[in-house]
């Protein structure tokens, strides 16, 4: 980059990475630092508010959105290892809020990115933090919000291929929802179960040993169903792969 001062990034950890898979957030930090960013993590952050928002509780989401904006609006860049959380900040906060807060939401949206698109499009990461010699063949699940709200499709594939020399086997209907849908998966489990079965069927059919993707919600759903059905396929977040962290057990696997 021609700009001499390194980009400064505030990491939006996302609640699922925070609670269930911290390795995704640590991997994100490693990747951002590898790309030459100064990374900070505002420790007052919690959740972006999607569960309530998507369930129709707009009123309770407003204070969450305002708190998140106030916490992150001073950053140069905000990066989240999730398309749906980044989409919540960029697409939905401006719709949810009005007046001055809407303007602040728009300002935040303009500097907020999903991790792989930030790495590929903004800071143009060209070298992985660690090269693994034993990269499994993977198949990539396009999470809906990242794909349709933020247009993320090529970026993670490009990073996996160019930085880690990963062999990606594309599955049929990679762009179709896995059935997670936030609270949907718990509200309509039968339908969600059918959708995740289709996803696993298509993934297994590629012969890949691993499913990866950019959103923990989808990955928890896919891994949970694979465990339940005894389907032998690893599930990991793309940040873990890119940062070379295959040491911790895959999602849903025992130590």
């Amino acid at each position: 980059m021609s700009d001499p001062s390194p980009p400064s990034v505030s990491l939006f950890v996302t609640c699922l990475a925070d609670l269930i898979r911290p390795s995704v957030a640590f991997a994100s930090i490693r990747l951002l630092e590898q790309a030459g960013c100064i990374v900070d993590v505002p420790v007052q952050q919690t959740c972006c508010g999607q569960p309530g928002y998507n369930s129709g509780d707009y009123e309770s989401t407003v204070p969450i959105a305002k708190k998140t904006i106030a916490l992150f609006e001073h950053a140069q860049f905000v990066v989240a290892p999730s398309g749906s959380c980044a989409g919540m900040l960029t697409e939905h906060y401006p719709k949810l809020l009005e007046g001055e807060w809407q303007e602040r939401a728009i300002a935040l949206a303009e500097k907020t990115y999903e991790l792989t698109s930030f790495l590929a499009d903004v800071v143009k990461l060209d070298k992985a933090p660690a090269i693994l010699t034993q990269m499994p063949t993977v198949t990539y699940h396009d999470s809906c919000a990242g794909l349709r709200e933020l247009g993320i499709k090529e970026q993670p594939r490009k990073l996996l291929r160019e930085l880690c020399e990963v062999d990606i086997k594309e599955m049929q209907q990679a762009d179709v929802c896995c059935g997670f849908g936030g609270t949907f998966c718990a509200k309509m489990p039968d339908i969600s179960g059918k959708m995740v079965d289709d996803k696993l069927r298509d993934a297994v059919a590629t012969g890949a040993g691993m499913i990866t993707g950019g959103d923990l919600g989808c990955l928890l759903n896919i891994a949970g169903r694979a465990r339940r059905e005894g389907i032998d396929i690893e599930v990991r977040h793309v940040a873990e792969l890119l940062s070379g962290d295959l040491y911790s057990p895959a999602i849903g696997e025992g130590e």
Binding site: S55, I64, V176, C177, G181, K194, V196, D198, G254
Partner: protein, 472 residues
């Protein structure tokens, strides 16, 4: 049509239990998007055209008073009788009256979702008329006593074998093979040919009403709607106010996306524009034509935050791309309209409470909004309906409590982080060996079909704070 949407969950479970039907739906859900995508790729300007159509549709709706008055004037001058119906019953009674004035016995019908909405067939049959659906799909489900499972392809849920058995039973023409799809189509053709020739009244719907010239556009591949519109001596067009477009070119611009979205065609076999009754010296065509405009809540929608839903062109593309629709099939939705557009229209046209499940039968995946040729923000409208349900306390109490608690904690970082750290520590200890839970209290919905992956050791915040402290 009787509203059954309160049974969505049960119907969906039944639909998922029928493995042959599941396989058929899977097949259709895979190829319909491929056909649409190929047509759009060849067309090349999908985004530009849908933005254009959206602008025209919004302009028409914003100025509907002007265009409705203009349409009425032109259509009347063309020789039509224009009727207005507030309610489904009123439309039904207007249509029955017209039939009775002509001493009609037989009615040939083209596919019309509006008349499904009003249950016109039952009404006319109770009035002593013989009503035959002539669209092959509609004919099949009428014979079977069923309702449409898809607004464009109403009988796609039935297998060839089921249709064969249905025809053998209903037509009672003795033993015959009916082995191939062609045989089945031929048989329906010969039966329906008589219907067209003998019908006293033809009833069709409309894809667009053109304000500047009073023409009504009809788009089909079978040509059945055209036979209904040209052969019987009386034609009744049953439609709604929101079909009105300013000009002929707006209607054809719309069909450009309609046909490509639905069947991948540049134009369907028949795209016709009808202005009114038979002209002097003309050898055929109806002697009398009526246009019945149904409101049924649409003027309320026009004045509401859901106005954009009136841009819908009834192409069925959102159904074809909805993974929930693919899983459950159209009948699960319990009314005329299904899939994303149905999950919005059904609550708006009937009852939000009775159809409570429909706006929730959505993962917010956004695929419907991406392909909608009218550029309707379907995922946003579905979320807005969930918002309304939440405000009106239709959301289940345990969800309300859970979401409120979550939101309350989310703005209290210290408490949130303390509690989540405690919870994940417990879950990590219990689950680290196996890696996931097959059962968890308070997560029955999740664990009913999938395991819950165990958290890693300690939340990120715990670990991060510990590390930064160590660094200092």
């Amino acid at each position: 049509m009787e509203l059954q949407s309160q049974h969505f969950r049960e119907k969906a479970a039944d639909a998922l239990a029928d493995s042959a039907a599941v396989a058929q739906r899977d097949k259709i859900a895979q190829f319909t998007p491929i056909i649409r995508d190929a047509a759009m790729q060849e067309f090349g300007s999908f985004e530009a055209l849908r933005k254009h159509i959206k602008r025209i549709r919004q302009h028409s709706l914003d100025n509907l008073d002007y265009y409705l008055a203009r349409f009425e004037l032109e259509a009347t001058n063309n020789g039509n009788q224009v009727h207005y119906a507030d309610t489904p019953d009123e439309m039904n009674s207007i249509v029955l009256d017209i039939c009775q004035q002509h001493g009609a016995h037989r009615v040939a019908k083209g596919k019309s979702m509006v008349t499904e909405e009003t249950a016109l067939n039952d009404y006319l049959q109770r009035g002593g008329l013989e009503v035959v659906e002539t669209d092959l799909g509609e004919y099949i489900i009428q014979q079977a006593g069923e309702t449409p499972s898809h607004i464009v392809a109403p009988a796609l849920h039935k297998s060839k074998q089921e249709i064969r058995e249905l025809f053998l039973e209903k037509h009672a023409l003795g033993e015959r093979a009916l082995e191939t799809t062609e045989d089945l189509v031929d048989e329906a053709r010969s039966v329906l040919r008589e219907t067209f020739l003998k019908a006293d009244v033809g009833i069709i719907g409309s894809n667009a009403l053109i304000a500047e010239n009073g023409y009504s556009m009809l788009v089909t591949n079978e040509g059945n709607g055209d036979l209904c519109a040209n052969l019987p001596s009386v034609l009744i067009i049953c439609t709604t106010l929101d079909r009105i477009l300013p000009r002929g070119e707006d209607a054809t611009a719309m069909q450009r996306l309609l046909a490509r979205s639905t069947t991948g065609q540049a134009q369907t076999s028949y795209t016709s524009f009808y202005s009114g009754p038979r002209r002097e010296g003309e050898l055929d065509g109806p002697l009398e034509t009526h246009i019945v405009l149904l409101d049924n809540q649409r003027t309320d929608i026009l004045a509401s935050d859901y106005k954009e839903m009136l841009q819908c062109i009834r192409c069925g593309t959102c159904l074809n791309h909805c993974p929930v629709f693919a899983a459950t099939g159209g009948h699960s939705y319990g009314w005329v309209y299904s899939g994303p557009m149905g999950s919005i229209l059904t609550p708006l046209l009937t009852s939000l409470e009775t159809s409570e499940a429909l706006p929730n039968a959505c993962t917010s995946c956004g695929r419907c909004g991406e392909v909608c040729p009218a550029d309707i923000p379907l995922p946003d409208l579905l979320r807005d309906l969930r918002h309304e349900q939440y405000q009106q306390k239709m959301t289940a109490p345990r969800w309300r409590v859970g979401l409120k608690l979550h939101a309350w904690l989310a703005v209290r970082p210290s408490l949130y982080q303390f509690l989540t750290a405690m919870l994940t520590t417990v879950l990590h200890r219990l689950g680290r060996k196996k890696g996931s839970f097959s059962q968890l209290p308070f997560a029955a919905g999740w664990t009913s079909v999938r395991d819950f992956p165990a958290p890693q050791s300690g939340t990120f915040m715990q670990q991060y704070k510990a590390r930064t402290k160590a660094d200092e």
